[in-house]
């Protein structure tokens, strides 16, 4: 099935692994969970030799173990889970993995936007059917959240803080009373949540202040803050993991040389340090410089070399992609990149050699083209 999908949800992609884990799971399972909390953790963070299982479970989300533990425990309690962090820190990926591991369904998602209405959270009506047969449970279109309640599984709410406050507040009663009433119907007008229902929401910490959560809603969520990965080793691991996945998806056979990966990681680390010491917004790049962004740069470079190059990833292309992805504002971002290229990359290419001189030339060219 996975080959027909551009991007298979986690429960489909890792179906076999989940089946295996379920088969060996002897631990106590809360509510209707398919896996016990420890197995969920193993699914997300990968197995170790000490776990004593006879196949290797790869790590899928990279970050501190305690974050995952806290997230799992929250889902086992009666509070919702809110993953909060900078863009590109893997919040949605973690949410998807958790939902897939706990209930084998990560697709019950509401995307929070400025245009999200209460109907998207509760239910709406099939108008034609209402005209034909009147209001009934048949003509009702349940929202993903309502479906999750009915099935006793995990519902997801992406970018909670992008939706307006009144829409957010519709979650309050769902999270505390655990039912939705349908006043339009005379009977069968309450949908109760089955055991196992919970909500994983994500929120972007850069959006703070756009639509702040009310304290009533905050109280019903446990917050788990996911920091930007700054550890170079684990970041390299994430980038490698995601790139392999991408290459597989695009069916591209291309090698990412470790030296180039190092150059990419080093440049991002440098630019992050520069952003941290900047005093005004004009002195730092608009980009959050997250790990996701690095993967984006690498993907761009890979695709470029595959279709317009000689099917070999080169430092020149990588530099072009880096500049292209990060230069969003002209002239501010370009000026910063120019400064970086001449102040850091140039001395480094002289001192270290390797792929750096080519990287330097590629970046210069790209900056010149964009300026």
């Amino acid at each position: 099935m996975t080959e027909n999908l551009l991007r298979a949800p986690a429960e489909v992609k890792y179906a076999e692994e989940l089946d295996y884990l379920e088969s060996i799971d002897t631990g106590a399972k809360p509510f209707t969970w398919r896996l016990s909390p420890r197995m969920v953790r193993m699914f997300v963070l990968g197995s170790e030799r000490a776990d004593g299982i006879d196949r290797q479970i790869p790590q899928k989300w990279f970050g501190d173990r305690s974050f995952v533990e806290r997230a799992i425990v929250t889902l086992a309690s009666d509070r919702g889970l809110l993953l909060i962090g900078d863009p590109g820190t893997g919040k949605s990926w973690l949410a998807e993995l958790l939902a897939a591991a706990i209930c084998r369904n990560s697709t019950l998602v509401v995307q929070g936007t400025a245009g999200t209405t209460e109907d998207h959270i509760k239910y709406s009506w099939n108008v034609a059917m209402v005209i034909a047969r009147g209001q009934s449970r048949d003509s009702l279109i349940p929202s993903p959240i309502m479906t999750a309640m009915e099935q006793g599984v995990v519902g997801r709410f992406e970018e909670l803080t992008r939706s307006t406050s009144d829409v957010q507040d519709a979650l309050i009663s769902i999270l505390s009373e655990k039912y939705v009433s349908i006043p339009e119907l005379d009977d069968d007008n309450i949908v109760f949540a089955k055991p196992g229902f919970s909500i994983i929401a994500t929120a972007n910490s850069r959006d703070r202040g756009v639509n702040d959560l009310s304290s009533a809603l905050k109280r019903r969520f446990n917050f788990v803050r996911i920091p930007v990965v700054t550890n170079k080793a684990s970041e390299a691991e994430i980038v490698r993991f995601r790139t392999v996945e991408l290459l597989k998806r695009h069916q591209i056979e291309l090698d990412v040389p470790p030296t180039l990966l190092d150059i990419l990681l080093q440049s991002f680390a440098d630019l992050r340090t520069a952003a941290a010491s900047a005093t005004s917004d004009d002195e730092k790049l608009e980009s959050a410089l997250s790990t996701a962004e690095q993967i984006g740069v690498l993907e761009d470079a890979i695709l470029h070399s595959q279709f317009f190059g000689d099917a070999q990833l080169r430092a020149h292309t990588l530099a072009g992609s880096l500049v292209g992805s990060l230069a969003r504002r002209s002239p501010e971002d370009l000026a910063i990149l120019n400064k970086y290229w001449h102040g850091v990359v140039e001395p480094r290419s002289k001192a270290d050699g390797g792929e750096w001189p080519e990287f330097l030339a590629g970046g210069r060219e790209a900056i010149a083209t964009l300026s």
């Binding site: 305690s66 533990e69 309690s77 910490s205 109280r219």
Partner: protein
């Protein structure tokens, strides 16, 4: 054949199976068993401990009650022993400190040397100390290398402070910097020496910190009520041996460790031989790491080792307050771990019913019924060693059951604390925290949530997107689970200086020992008896860091004394500084005197620094003899100086001192002052020509030199200096930079060589010459500086500033303005008031008047004032001169002036035509009223 052979065989089999053949692993495993075997067979009983381990403390208390030894050997620097007697006067934790500021035999840049060994109540060493000091007939011997050896053995080339384990840079909590930058030594340091092992243990133990791992896998099984002493000993030695054999770490550290073991065993053998004590009645308390030692000197039968002599450094000893957070920061422990250990100890004491030892009268503790321990009668045979390890290693870790009451208490308490710190938390949160803690602990394979699990749960449930107050939930958890405990050194254990300070501050009626900031109010007029307190506070302020003793109201400068003062005193929380002052002398005055003397006699001392010392001596010490000594040194320093960099400061200070000595009844100028002026006059005259030319000496410096020369001229001449020297020096000066040229012109003017009209002409020429216009700002800067030596030029400076603003083109004027502003800002006290006053006199006061105003220096206005004849004089003085012209004629002839006598006003008053007469003529009322009043 020993009792451990079966275990050894079992381990070797395991090694063969897992490592797939003979290799390092079997060596390590077998070696560990050998170490345990050797340590246990040693006739002198070795008690292995680990720092901040309640299990060690508990085992120690039990063992001491059981064995009641006669001699206790402690792994602590041998020269710190006398300080331990003072522990009972302190509130723990405190640290025993050795301190040396005069180093001899060490690199001078290591100075001051400082070693601290913190002592907490929940530690095995405290149990041993308390038992030994309060039981008659028991001797406590510290056997570790002396503090001198700590530095002797630390590698040269690196600074001594680098030897310190982990000085955490984070210093947000107030208690963290209590140890300053001292090197920490601790009893029973036990931690893997390579990070991979530690990371591995933490990862698989599903714990975050080393302390947590230790607590779960060693502490709890050993602290349980049924764990016996033999098991404790064997396990501890085994762990020490494991860490030692697996990876000894940094070779230099290993050398030091082995030398320490040689040292300790040599000292113990020496002591046993000298005192004739029975080795079976002794107990050797050392870290588990050292218990598993394999140096040849190990054991009573070991070979002797030659101990190197100490260096000539003079060490001073004292107790300083410590805190849990300071200990954690210094030894790289997880934040809160020492507090948690203390809490665990308290719990273990109640649970197991063990009666711990406590020093009699220990400050800051509840009074416990003292159980008098006595020394045991000698028991001949020690019980045979049995293998307890096999059982311990084979059984899974016995985990604590959940303590529901404790967890509930924590959950409720953290919610209460969070609410107090601005979180919107409620009972629902307490329930959630409770539930989440249990779930988290379950995920981490334990039934009982550790304090760290609890903290994680609390953060998950209560922490939202922002922290409303000053502290976040994690910090609140730390506070709740023990909090920081800050020790205090009791009065009797303080050095004489600190006691003296406490005594002398008594009349203020504030509690100087309090940990909060105390406000002291001194009304010196109503209560003159508080005068000495005020003096003392000012000296303390001079000697200690700025926020320890801080005046809120009142000042002490030369010639000024406050009537009322108010002070913020933080002596209680900064005891360390006071105690370290105590290493320098017996009274604060003595310390200040020494410090001033040192400042003045260092090879890098300058005249300005010496004058500053004189000022301090006058303000704080009031010893004429000492002040004169410092002054004499200032004269010497000035004469020897080859640069004029500090001339501005010298000028400022000597002016202030002269003003001080001249005012009031201070017996006139002291001899050194006169000397200083005389020397300075000659000195600056000599340096003036070079200073004018050299680029290194700035305009300000030259201006200050001129200020000294002109300002002190009267005094200097009266003391026998020669003005010709100054005139020649000025003549010899040929500056090139415009600013200095301007300064030279000002000097010429002051010496009467350049009249103001000529000076004005020169400046006007410059302003008219487009070639030099860009340099004009520099000239003006020179003139600005000239205000210091030649204050009479003020009106002229205002004039040229006005002209500059009027005439200079913007490209010249604008770049110069920032510099002008910074100059004026830097030297505001000297320059701004005179300039503003003069400007106020020159310019009109209202906007309307500005339209008709013409500057006084414009040619049209200047004419009448420079009339050749001058105003016609009148009055009795004129009459006298006209009546007897001979003397005036003679003076005129002498000066080469030719002139004629003008006729005197007819009625002996001013000319009728003069403006004044005109005014009075038109408005006679005032004059008539005055005349009436005077009955004229």
């Amino acid at each position: 054949m020993t009792v451990f052979d079966p275990l050894r065989d079992q381990l070797l089999e395991a090694a063969a199976e897992f490592a797939g053949g003979p290799g390092d692993l079997d060596g390590i495993l077998a070696g560990m068993v050998t170490d345990v075997d050797r340590a246990l067979r040693e006739p002198l009983e070795i008690f292995p401990v680990c720092h901040h381990s309640p299990a060690s403390a508990l085992a120690m208390a039990r063992r001491l009650r059981e064995k009641r030894p006669h001699v206790i050997y402690l792994e602590l620097c041998e020269d710190l022993r006398p300080l331990l007697d003072e522990l009972r006067n302190c509130r723990l934790p405190v640290a025993v400190q050795a301190f040396a500021s005069d180093v001899d035999g060490f690199p001078p840049d290591w100075s001051p040397l400082s070693v601290v060994a913190p002592i907490t109540e929940a530690s095995a060493e405290y149990q041993a100390i308390a038992y030994a000091l309060d039981t008659p007939g028991v001797e406590l011997v510290c056997v570790d290398r002396s503090t001198d050896h700590v530095f002797q053995w630390s590698p040269r080339g690196s600074s001594a402070a680098d030897a310190d384990a982990d000085a955490d840079a984070e210093e947000d909590a107030e208690g963290k910097d209590l140890h300053g930058d001292a090197v920490g030594v601790e009893i029973g340091d036990l931690r893997p020496r390579f990070s991979q092992l530690e990371a591995y243990l933490l990862h698989h133990g599903k714990v975050r910190h080393w302390s947590e791992w230790w607590d779960q896998y060693v502490e709890q099984p050993l602290a349980s009520a049924d764990a016996d002493y033999e098991t404790y000993r064997q396990v501890m030695v085994l762990i020490g041996s494991l860490f030692r054999r697996l990876a000894p770490g940094d070779p230099s550290r290993v050398t030091v460790d082995e030398d320490r073991e040689r040292f300790m065993w040599t000292r113990m053998r020496q002591h046993l031989a000298a005192s004739g004590a029975d080795a079976s009645q002794a107990l050797y308390v050392c870290g588990a790491f050292h218990a598993a030692s394999y140096v040849p000197e190990f054991g009573l039968a070991g070979s002797d080792w030659e101990i190197s002599p100490r260096t000539g450094t003079r060490w001073l000893y004292g107790l300083i307050p410590s805190s849990h957070s300071a200990i954690e920061a210094q030894f790289g422990l997880a934040s809160g771990s020492v507090s948690i250990a203390a809490a665990t100890w308290a719990k273990a004491v109640t649970r197991t019913g063990v009666k711990p030892f406590q020093l009699q009268g220990q400050a800051g503790t509840r009074k416990r019924a003292v159980v008098k321990a006595t020394v045991a009668p000698p028991v001949a045979v020690a019980e045979p060693v049995t293998d307890k390890l096999t059982k311990f290693l084979a059984s899974p870790p016995r985990l604590d059951g959940i303590d529901e009451a404790e967890l509930l208490g924590w959950s409720v308490e953290i919610v209460r604390l969070a609410r107090r710190h601005g979180y919107l938390s409620s009972t629902a949160d307490a329930i959630a925290v409770f539930e989440t803690s249990i779930l988290l602990a379950g995920m981490r394979n334990r039934a009982r949530p550790t304090p760290y699990d609890f903290a994680d749960a609390a953060v998950t449930c209560i922490e939202k997107d922002t922290v409303p107050g000053r502290r976040d939930i994690r910090r609140l958890c730390e506070i709740m689970l023990g909090g920081d405990r800050i020790g205090q050194v009791g009065y009797n254990a303080l050095p004489p200086l600190a006691r003296d300070v406490y005594d002398r501050l008594q009349p203020l009626g504030v509690n100087v020992e309090a940990r909060t900031i105390q406000r002291a109010l001194l009304d010196l007029k109503a209560q003159p008896e508080l005068g000495p307190c005020s003096d003392l506070l000012w000296v303390l302020r001079r000697l200690m860091p700025p926020d320890v003793v801080r005046p809120i109201m009142g000042e002490r400068t030369l010639g000024r004394k406050s009537i009322q003062e108010s002070w913020d005193l933080a002596i209680g929380r900064s005891q360390r500084y006071l105690i370290e002052l105590g290493y320098e002398g017996v009274t604060v005055e003595q310390v200040l005197e020494q410090r001033l003397r040192r400042e003045v006699w260092t090879p890098t001392a300058t005249a300005a620094a010496a004058l500053a010392a004189v000022e301090d001596s006058l303000l704080y010490l009031r010893s004429r003899r000492f002040t004169d000594e410092l002054g004499a040194r200032a004269v010497e320093l000035l004469a020897a100086e080859r640069t004029v960099d500090e001339a501005p400061e010298v000028l400022q200070r000597i002016r202030r001192l002269l003003a001080y000595y001249r005012s009031g009844e201070r017996g006139g100028l002291p001899a050194w002052c006169e000397d200083f002026v005389r020397t300075g006059y000659a000195h600056y005259c000599t340096l003036l020509p070079t200073a004018f030319v050299e680029d290194e000496s700035g305009v300000r410096q030259v201006a200050a030199m001129l200020g000294f020369l002109f300002g002190m001229e009267n005094l200097a001449l009266s003391l026998g200096c020669d003005r010709a020297q100054l005139e020649i020096a000025v003549q010899q000066s040929h500056p090139e930079s415009p600013a200095k040229v301007a300064l030279l012109w000002a000097a010429h003017h002051q010496l009467g060589l350049l009249p103001i009209a000529r000076l004005r002409e020169r400046v006007d020429e410059l302003l008219g010459n487009p070639m030099v216009l860009p340099a004009m700002p520099q000239y003006i800067s020179g003139f600005l500086q000239a205000l210091v030596p030649v204050p009479s030029l003020t009106s002229f400076v205002v004039e040229i500033l006005s002209k500059a603003f009027a005439q200079l083109p913007d490209p010249v004027l604008l770049p110069w303005l920032p510099q002008l502003i910074t100059t004026l800002k830097d030297q505001a006290p000297e320059l701004v008031p005179v300039l503003v006053r003069e400007a106020g006199r020159t310019f009109p006061g209202t906007l309307a008047a500005l339209d008709t105003w013409t500057p006084p220096w414009s040619p049209a206005e200047a004419a009448p004032t420079t009339s050749a004849t001058g105003p016609r004089a009148g009055g009795p003085m004129a009459e006298l001169l006209v009546g007897h012209p001979d003397a005036t004629d003679a003076v005129a002839a002498l000066l080469g002036v030719t002139g004629s006598w003008s006729a005197l006003g007819t009625d002996g008053t001013d000319d009728i035509g003069s403006p004044v007469a005109d005014l009075i003529g038109r408005h006679p009322d005032t004059a008539e009223a005055v005349a009436d009043l005077l009955s004229v």
